[in-house]
Symmetry: C2
Subunit: 367 residues, 2 copies
Amino acid sequence: MKISKVEAIPFAIPYRKPLRFASGEVTAAEHVLVRVHTDSGLVGIAEAPPRPFTYGETQASIRAVVDGIFAPQIIGLSPLEREVMHTRLNRTVGNPTAKSALDMAVWDLIGQSLGVSVTDLIGGYTDRMRVSHMVGFAPPGEMVAEAERIRGLYGITTFKVKVGRRPIELDIEVCKALRAGLGDGVELYIDGNRGWTPSESARALRAMEDLDLTFAEELCPADDVLGRRWLVSQSRIPIFADESVSRPGEVTRELLAGAANGVSIKTARTGFTYSQRVLHLCEGLGVEVVMGNQIDGQIGSLCSAAFGAAFELTSRRPAELSNFLDMSDDLLSEPLQITGGTLHVREGAGLAIEIDEDKLAHYRQDG
Amino acid sequence: MKISKVEAIPFAIPYRKPLRFASGEVTAAEHVLVRVHTDSGLVGIAEAPPRPFTYGETQASIRAVVDGIFAPQIIGLSPLEREVMHTRLNRTVGNPTAKSALDMAVWDLIGQSLGVSVTDLIGGYTDRMRVSHMVGFAPPGEMVAEAERIRGLYGITTFKVKVGRRPIELDIEVCKALRAGLGDGVELYIDGNRGWTPSESARALRAMEDLDLTFAEELCPADDVLGRRWLVSQSRIPIFADESVSRPGEVTRELLAGAANGVSIKTARTGFTYSQRVLHLCEGLGVEVVMGNQIDGQIGSLCSAAFGAAFELTSRRPAELSNFLDMSDDLLSEPLQITGGTLHVREGAGLAIEIDEDKLAHYRQDG
């Protein structure tokens, strides 16, 4: 079985309401559907989410690099020749979500051709992931109400709170309201998306010391090199790195520099192949991980869950898998369901992704 | 498909002549054949080489821990549930070759059941490995003659020279004779098996400075903690760790302590699952690796080659795959062949190991 054709299809699905973060705002999921075709008729599927504020990629750049550079490099390869594929893809710098979508689509092909789920292929630990939900910026009362709604609807009891605004009191107030409103039975952690300075981060953490936060993610930029090391050196809760650790070499640098205590793994940027490498690197270094969310659609969320469920270390804590709830629709024939705070990995070969072709025709932007 | 039975069969095959190292001597390969049976009739195969001087395991301890502890823990699991299996095996400390043989036999089952080679399953980089040959202790002239014989017979042009004797001049003389006798077209590196002190190691390296050694392995014990760091800090050729890095946590400790610059990966002690972790850890840390040999028989050599060929990083340099040449016989129906300095991975599903049952009946020690 050889790879015969690669499609990179831009599509846009509106969010129910605009998503706001310290690093920017998005109003629609403008992603790229990647389909890797083979001469046997099997088709591997994944999606690439362009994140210009994080990785510099755009919908147009993903299409261009897939069509113009990557597709010719991998057409003719067997899906099993992953190491050969990555040797070729890696000649091109950056473009993490484009490369990762190809990687995951190829793993989907491997699973389909062998009749085994990707989760079982790469580790086979469990068939589900507990879910952590991200609460976006809003007045404190609204954020508590939203978290309560999510808990009631989906049984989710772990919440990631977006912080990083100025003055820091805005976010401190929100976190206090969430702990008071949701009670002690709920797990809370925060994500600053590089919005604060190191000293603001430290002040905010001190002010939230009684809130029993599990960890804090990317409060200040990794390029605040010494400031961030100082922050990590004196923080009483672990600091996780996210957008600053988008490949193994960066993981090593940040961890060995003392600039982080934990790592967020996102299949959207490291696929399945390099997510394994990041995971094994962290495991070998004795560092905790969390499965993060690149504001993934349902296809991306399925990929992330498929990876997380494969390993014991990634299954230890709830994964960020619910961002798709903010989208008004999606491309899957059978939408994802979160119940009892849990997302099940799809049974079936590969990633078991089935696209609703009518929806794709409706949302695709190249027609 | 579920695991239904596990066999741990002791066998002994004489060496053509006794193998001598700084850390001990062996006269026969007294290994344990591990066969993992399933309710589908498929059988996964690997071998465990007891190395009491290195890991504390014996043939009897491997049989006891497999039969008494590990078999009951994995019977009933699907071979795909590797992460569940390792969570259980890891409750028992140590016993690396016993655990690894089970891991590799289970990967053999996965490959067989899916109709894919293990090499393709885990990476799919290439189908062969260049071979490095180990030259054991002997007078200089004999060692040169032996290397020439191996080069002539098998086309091997990379040699690992056992050192670590006292006085160090014995080994310096050998290495000089090998370089002079074999010429510049041959790659040479040395392995001390912890035989020297740090200062002896440094003196020997200085005396061999003109011999263009690629690297030096485990010249002094890892527990010579500060001495070894000093040695590594001032050595002009890289120092590789071998028996001091038998699991990911040890790799991290030795590398971060500055006690090694490279790592030997041996499937005999880390199987396929943990060898991937060690590899990805080293890759993420930017550290070179070599596929090492645990004085493996043909089954173990096949496993090592299957892993090495799967990845670009492990394929960069010749792997130590020729120790089986010292054995007077083996259990495979079709013996391994090294030609043109290369060992090909077996085509076929899983590890494609077929045991000659007559030979097993002859060499097994529990009959």
